[in-house]
Symmetry: C2
Subunit: 131 residues, 2 copies
Amino acid sequence: MNIGDVAKLSGLPPKTIRYYEDIGLISPLRDANGYRSFRESDTHKLAFLGRARALGFTIEDCRTLLALWDDKQRASGDVRAIAQEHLAQIERKIIDLQAIQETLSHLVRECSGDGRPDCPILKTLEVLPLR
Amino acid sequence: MNIGDVAKLSGLPPKTIRYYEDIGLISPLRDANGYRSFRESDTHKLAFLGRARALGFTIEDCRTLLALWDDKQRASGDVRAIAQEHLAQIERKIIDLQAIQETLSHLVRECSGDGRPDCPILKTLEVLPLR
DNA sequence: GCTTGACCTTCCAGTAACTGGAAGCCCCAT
DNA sequence: ATGGGGCTTCCAGTTACTGGAAGGTCAAGC
């Protein structure tokens, strides 16, 4: 299979797939003409990567997860630890964003948006306490 | 005032302040020895920038907000539009993260984390439908 | 046999917003 | 005068790609 086919199958753009090869996440074979030749296992890995990335795992997390996936003997505790730490990060980020959202939605609600030159949003940015 | 003082006042690291000068967000004066010399207005701007960045506005948003702030005659509608678009982005991001959080917390809950070699997290990454 | 267009290749550069580090002045206190 | 901290510039690296240029390859159609 050529890169275009795998791209369609995995949902990842060809550029991304080449990049994943560059950084050593996959190692497709090569045809005589120099084209990458993807096996089943490559496609499978790429789909795995696409899903892990969609869940927000970093590339380095993905590298580790792939290794653990390849090495089925390993205890699942390692995987769980990675997922749990990632989950904690996401929960922190959600909380941060919700605080920002609240501040901003207050501001937007208070701002008439009409022609008045004194804007409560700018005013707040002047005095809002830094966290 | 030297950069260290302003850094303390504004809460921004000196490196960041220099960077903001590089990209034209501020233009502090220079002393004879080449040191940056920050006026009140620079400090004020930096504090404004710190707050806007803490609310997640991009640097380019900040540039625009600063300009609108300088130009008090402008209608507040412009500011409101920026804030509203930014708010919408944040709300989208929260929703995305919440979906991820749900998936992940299911996974972590299901994963015993004990020595069993079949890990439900890895299994799910194999088959989870791509969004 | 030749052209055309869709693929494929590599390599270089750019993105956002800093951050780290090196090399080298400058200033003040001892 | 010397030591320590603060200041300067410049270069490079971070994350995870993405865009684009220059060029090779392949299959179809004339």
